[in-house]
Symmetry: C2
Subunit: 199 residues, 2 copies
């Protein structure tokens, strides 16, 4: 049992996508709610000196293989999208804007945006593509286009990213179960074991 | 079932130590033998641009916490040693030398060296400390001291490290089940699932 889950993800993270397909079930299992937080890995990678996964020698080849294997073993629809990685600022801002209207709407957008990119090969780094997904979940496309160009939403994303880093977030997915941090899709079982035995 | 396991580890890797406590049981479970390969992460980190774990901003704090949590949940005796990380070239060369005499002797040395560092706080980066562990498993201390200073063993470690990188190894623990690569202690369950469902 837990009081809350905070789920941090970048739309450009395949393992973040994998986690997005499981986080609601995990929250139900733990009897709590999952709060979704879109983040931008760019500033975090600058802090940790990390490089984009697939561009890293040795690690890139392994990661591509591991993503495909993980999707297969966990039966998650997935392909390595092209282009990859992408700028996810538009999708992240739309998520925040939708959450501001209604939290569940933000989650619905995020799920569809993940699926569009990793299953249907829609380039969600293109703001217009991301806006069409917003429209599909019921947002007004013109209001949303205006909102994500506003200083308010830009400042909100920046400050939420800073707050995430201040809390220790440096990768995607990054999950807090109450105050306990877990990095990586491969930590979902660890979360279950931790909750049984919090020490 | 599998034909063989290749287990690559750096003595300065806590997750490598964790894996060393489980790899023989995994090999038995899969009905094969585990071949132990001491490696040096230094040249690999140079290739991938990785930094020593605990020195990385954000990631360092998380990793320290995760190591302790992993040890606790998996009931593996462990503390974060001081100093950390250390040069592991002496311990790696002793392992190769002992394996050359008898493979099981190399494994026995490696297990004791891991325990000395992560449980008993013996600084195995100091060659004399590593040599005393060699002596404790039945190696002649003077022969071993001479062997690890020889050009032959230096060249062997270098070429084995290069062969590991050529195979795709870039971290510790790194495990091949036949030709399938797995990086990280948190992939042991993935190995079991993969072997059941190799695709």
């Amino acid at each position: 049992m837990a009081d809350r889950i905070d789920f941090y993800f970048d739309f450009s993270s395949p393992y973040g996508y994998f986690a997005s397909t499981r986080i609601e079930a995990l929250a139900s299992e733990l009897g709590c709610e999952a709060h979704w937080h879109p983040i931008l890995l760019g500033p975090m990678f600058k802090a940790t000196g990390a490089a984009p996964l697939l561009e890293t020698p040795l690690k890139g080849d392994y990661s591509r293989h591991d993503m495909l294997r993980t999707a297969r073993l966990d039966q998650i629809p997935f392909h390595v999208p092209e282009p990859f990685p992408i700028a996810t600022v538009a999708a992240a801002r739309i998520t925040l804007y939708a959450q501001g209207l209604r939290p569940a709407l933000g989650i619905e957008f995020a799920k569809r945006a993940f699926k569009a990119y990793y299953v249907d090969n829609v380039h969600i780094g293109d703001a217009e593509n991301a806006l069409r997904i917003a429209q599909a979940v019921g947002l007004d496309i013109d209001d949303t286009r205006e909102a994500i160009a506003s200083d308010a939403i830009k400042a909100q994303l920046r400050s939420e990213n800073e707050a995430a880093m201040a809390r220790g977030v440096f990768g995607s997915p990054f999950i807090f179960v109450d105050d306990e941090p877990f990095w990586g899709f491969d930590r979902l079982d660890t979360i279950r074991r931790f909750v049984q035995n919090p020490g």
